[in-house]
Amino acid sequence: MAESPPWKTLNRPSRLAPGFGSLVEAEMPSSVRWLIRLRWLAGLGVICITLAIEPIFGLQLAVIPLLSIGFGILLYNLVFYLVERRLERNNAPPDSYLNLAVFQVAMDWVAMVLLIHFSGGIESPVIFFFIFHIAIASIFFSRPMAFEAAILAVILLTFIALTEYIGILPHVKIMGLLDFPLYRNRLYVAAVLAFFSCTGLIVTYLVTTISEHLRRREEEVVQLTEGLRRATAWMQALNEGAQALNSTLELPQVLNRLVENTAKVMGVRACSIRMLDKSGNHLVPLAVYGLSQAYLEKGPVELDKNPLAREVLDGKIVNVPDVSTSSLLQYPEKTVLEGISSSLSAPLFGKNGPLGVLRAYSDEKNHFTPEDEAFLAATAAQGSIAIDNAIAYQEIEDLDAAKTAFMRTFTHELRSPVSVTRSLLQTLNAGYVGDVTPQQRDLLERAIRRVDYLQKLIDDLLDLAAGKVYEKMQQLDEPVALEEVVERVVNRFEVLASEKALTLEWLDEVAGCPKMVLATPEGLDRVFNNLISNAVKYTRPNGKVTVTLSCSGKQVKVAVEDTGIGIPEDAIERLFEEFYRAPNAKEMEREGTGLGLAIVKDTVTRFGGRVTVRSEVGLGTRFVVYLPLIEELPLNLDDIPQAQAPASPL
């Protein structure tokens, strides 16, 4: 009895999450409570029947001993009740309930024996009640113990019968029940004892058989439930892993969630991810859950000294059931010191080969099962993708940063020599360092023109490249008042236009309310600078350039219209191509990069707008830029007094 617990123990799953007891364990306190409730009735029953039998049946009982037994039952039941309450309050472990049950059965046995003795010994009809007790014991105890208990009952009863027969124990007679006492009738005593023994043993056999059946079923249910619970947790963990993979590409976050989830779901003490460093020989901890700092600082994990890491990185899942006897570890003592008894490792493999090791640590030996291996492998596969993605993302970010840095350097390095050259030529040409002959001036001016062209080309190329870089950084866009930008650009060209004897007209049809668009002021400036500069450039003296701003619905429209040389029809479709220049434009202005309109189109598209062009050779050109307004204008457009009739389209 001492070596094996009397309770019919289930092969309980050892790894239960807190609050997740087996079904049998969960049942035990309620079984104990049930027994206590039943015993109140038994005690009261003994008292009531003792008091009732005399007046009703005219029998004389040993009232005082029987009542004492009844009150005794109630008394010890009260003690059990209080103990049970205390266990419940303290959330006592199932073992305490088990002990309580054994005590209860023992006390009931004693009460039963006394009850039989004081109600007539072998003649007592109460003997049948013993069968109940044997049945209850059979439910609660393991089969051998139940048989022991049944045999004990037989022995106790035989002892009462024999001692009363011989006269050692006084026979308590129920007056008026039997005309002839039977306790000295040898045949009767033998028959009762024989039948009682048979009944007791058969009941024990039947009840233990049935309850064992039930127990097995219950055990299966518990195991299935546990299996299901773990399967659900695994699914959840994998699902969460997938979500983590999608929702965040920050590597440390992804990995920390992965190790924490893995440890919790597997019900183990700790989990870690170690990644191969650039040397390819060291594994560096990147994400850790449940390990002490001291353990992490135990020393470098080196592949050439660590057979476990080598095996894992070769693609194997390695289960170390007992770290204290394994020869695979690099730091076995420190691992034991950390309280780790077994570990399970799975490789992390990226597109370009091994990345590192995912490892789960348990403080139990032989903890990890083949299912655990499958789960860790699945988690590692998922983690590998997350890590791969995050690394790729990091690379893109780094590349982007490098590109921006490059652009900045390029701007300075390429622009400054050209611009200094131009200034030097200009200084020379302006006569600050002595007189310049007409022929020298001609040469200088040619040089300045070529440098100007180079300068413009560099600026345009940088603008175009910058636009492409910004495209990825939409957050740089801000609400900009379009009319302010356009007006500023128009003002910039006033001097140039008047020098060329051109009329430059600016017309805001919805003046008085801001036209806000999501863009960058620099981008918009570049767009209208290029359009208006073209218009001024390709319009002959005495011509006219009109810039008109109007709105319709959620769209704002800026038209740049000139009475210039126009664009040939076959050139229009290639107009927005990089480096393309219409033949008549080349004729009129030798210098020109052919990038201006490409920049316009690129930039406007980036701001969610579009550009259209209509032109007729010799009559003029009209470019229209459409941009989405952030908010529809609050005013009804008809209410706004129009300053002038809108410029008529070509």
Binding site: S416, S419, L424, Y432
Partner: protein, 133 residues
């Protein structure tokens, strides 16, 4: 006539030359410094009437830092007496870097920006205007 003094702070000697020649031709006395640190020393020695400053020197924003230290509103600033000395800032990066430079009076107390390449005439106009000549 008391010659007005102009300090040029720029790391590019050619660029300094292109600014220096027109200014000298216009009768100003011109001094040079090649970086922020030399510039700060020179300011105290020369006590210029005007400073022409390049934005990008040792670092991309060295010019700004110099301007900020010179025009600091801090009453205990070592450059307190120069807080009203006008600065013309030369910049080549106005439109093509993510850094937004604009003469925001709260951000930068610089009176004038001049885009490179420097047009001698434009430079002289600005200088005349700032010095009231």
């Amino acid at each position: 006539m008391n010659q007005k003094r102009i300090l040029l702070v720029d790391d590019d000697p050619d660029q300094r030359l292109t600014v220096r020649l027109p200014l000298e031709a216009a009768g100003y006395k011109v001094f040079e410094a090649a970086n922020q640190v030399d510039g700060q020393v020179a300011v105290k020695q020369i006590r210029p009437d005007l400073i022409v400053l390049d934005v990008m020197m040792d670092t991309t924003t060295a010019g700004f830092q110099f301007a900020l230290s010179l025009h600091s509103p801090d009453p205990n600033s070592e450059f307190k007496e120069f807080c009203n000395t006008p600065i013309i800032m030369l910049t080549a990066i106005h439109s093509t870097t993510p850094l937004r430079f604009s003469p925001d009076e709260y951000y930068l107390p610089v009176q004038n920006f001049l885009e490179k390449p420097v047009e001698p005439k434009v430079l002289l106009d600005k200088v005349h205007k700032l010095l009231g000549d």
